[in-house]
Symmetry: none
Subunit: 201 residues, 4 copies
């Protein structure tokens, strides 16, 4: 059992890295086998197909995010704190498993319809959760009136754009990785919160 887990992790870990570096389509099973120092037969013993490897990696990554959101939901934190936490989670996962994040950015469209649907569902779930927060904020008067779901997508877009840039290797990327979370959380809160005073002005 432990042995099994070890081998599977070795495979998914290697695949994650290679897929992130060269892309799913461009990474061959032979490359995975050789890099992971495992026989091709062994891979097929644990995974039905190449698609399944990607699926397993993505699935795990998605679950991680879902678990986080569920935990967050139960804590009843104030709105501003929740936003901060969501942004922070994004960057934490980015640093902790940058390959998985990179892979996530790349292969959002490529995989099998099943997996693609799964990914879009999760994305929708995250967006829905954020929209819910916004909706509540509007109700309590903390947030200016707006289309909640659309605004949620907009916020996720901002976070993603900055994350993506933060994955680079230059100084700007380093700066983004370091200051991105606070700056974004502050900006977003500002933006949601303050808008309401502006209209009359």
């Amino acid at each position: 059992m432990t042995r099994q887990g070890r081998l599977e992790e070795k495979i998914t870990g290697t695949a994650e890295r290679l897929f992130a570096q060269k892309g799913f389509a461009a990474t061959g099973m032979r490359a995975i086998a050789q890099t992971a120092k495992v026989s091709i037969g062994a891979i097929y013993h644990h995974f039905k197909s190449k698609d399944e490897i990607l699926e397993r990696i993505m699935h795990e990554e998605l679950e991680r995010r879902q678990r986080f959101l569920e935990r967050l939901r139960g804590q009843g934190l104030p709105l501003q704190k929740q936003i901060k936490q969501i942004v922070q989670m994004h960057f934490d996962l980015l640093q902790e498993k940058s390959d998985a994040a990179r892979l996530f950015f790349r292969e959002r469209f490529d995989p099998s319809p099943v997996l693609r649907a799964k990914i879009q569902d999760l994305y929708g779930e995250v967006a829905g959760y954020v929209a819910e927060i916004i909706r509540e904020g509007i109700a309590t008067g903390e947030v200016r009136p707006c289309q909640p779901l659309l605004t949620a997508y907009t916020i996720l877009g901002m976070v993603e754009a900055v994350s993506l840039r933060a994955l680079g290797k230059d100084e700007t990327a380093a700066l983004f990785m370091k200051e991105g979370p606070q700056e974004l959380a502050r900006s977003i809160w500002l933006w949601l919160h303050l808008g309401q005073e502006e209209k009359p002005a």
Copy 2:
């Protein structure tokens, strides 16, 4: 000349559609040739490689945006109006050539390093233009102090996230396509414009 142009357009048009649907890597030259009702040889007569087809499509699409921005620059519109126009353009092109847009969202990471560099360059130009607008806004006091280029990337990220969702086929997508432009333009303006009064608070 006209004949040549026709054939090349037939090829790029078909390729654009297939690449957008199945992905660049998963689309074979044979598939392009058969779908476009053209011989493989003819394709290679006009394009050096499969990469060059993608390159040409991307190049044209990005040039379209550049041309628009240049025209916009010459009109001397007020800042808020310019932002609105840029967001609107994004959505217009999205509706007019949804395949190209979809393709652009996919293959930003996949193609050969050369092509990737080219795409990033052209993308950088668009971002640069937006940054320039922001810079001017800061100078006139209309925009709160910020790093213009990074803010530009953030804005493009917002627009992209909403655009991407708008490409779907459900109700939400329709809603985003319809209300996205105004809502985004308003949001972005708000965000850029308002921050400055907040700091002292």
Copy 3:
């Protein structure tokens, strides 16, 4: 192991024949696979490329000659006998593996620069050994003074010209195959040995 060796031999054997008949460039991998009743994939499992097949054939053939020469070297035969043996070996290998010999005559110029260099190196080794014999002959006074390496090349040229003609299917070829070895050995010895008495004349 045995299985592997069998398959590789089947491939090289078939390739040897086809290359010799139609030429390296004109022989396709499909033709080799079909003739050898082996899948294309199997060929590529054992050989990195088409070039490598040729390389392996050539290498083996040249090694065969090298092994012979090494054995010969250890026997300490008189010079005239050694020459006779070398010529005889040439013709024996010609009869035993006429395809390989034919192939050798063709493709000396065609293959990739890398392979060409390899072939020339191995050829050079054979020539070097002959040159060594000549050098020893000069030292003992049995051979007239001459540039040993160049004389070696000349000798190999003589043998090759006759061999090549002997590969045909007519009467002359049969005659050459039968009388070539003795006649050549006699001629070469004569040529090397006798020159020295002439100069004074």
Copy 4:
């Protein structure tokens, strides 16, 4: 007419060079067309096929040698002089049209059966002529007893080996080109002539 000739020469000249450099199979029609600054259509207007280009080049080169031999035959020169002339011709043609010579060495086996037969015929003719000279020499006692045709092939082999080496670009090649003809002519004569005194010894 003159125009035609010019264009055809331009094509054969270019092809000769390219075939000699990269080999017949590896040289494409497009490469010939571009290098010769001629359209592909124009080539096909003057030559039925790629094979025909090679055929025309070879044919011309072969005829050149035949004409020489016929002229030589009519002159009734002494044996030694004839050998010298034949060797000299070989080297003259080598220097004058080194590409054609190189090509001749390469593509002796590759071309169509028709052309291959033609080449072998000429080779046989040259050998036959040399054999005839030897036969006469034996009759007059100037040459030691030997198998004339076999000896002729041997001689041609020597000349070829040295020629081939002389086509290189190093110092040895230069030396061979310069001294090869005399040295070879002397060696061969020596060899043919002197052998007879040896046997009794």
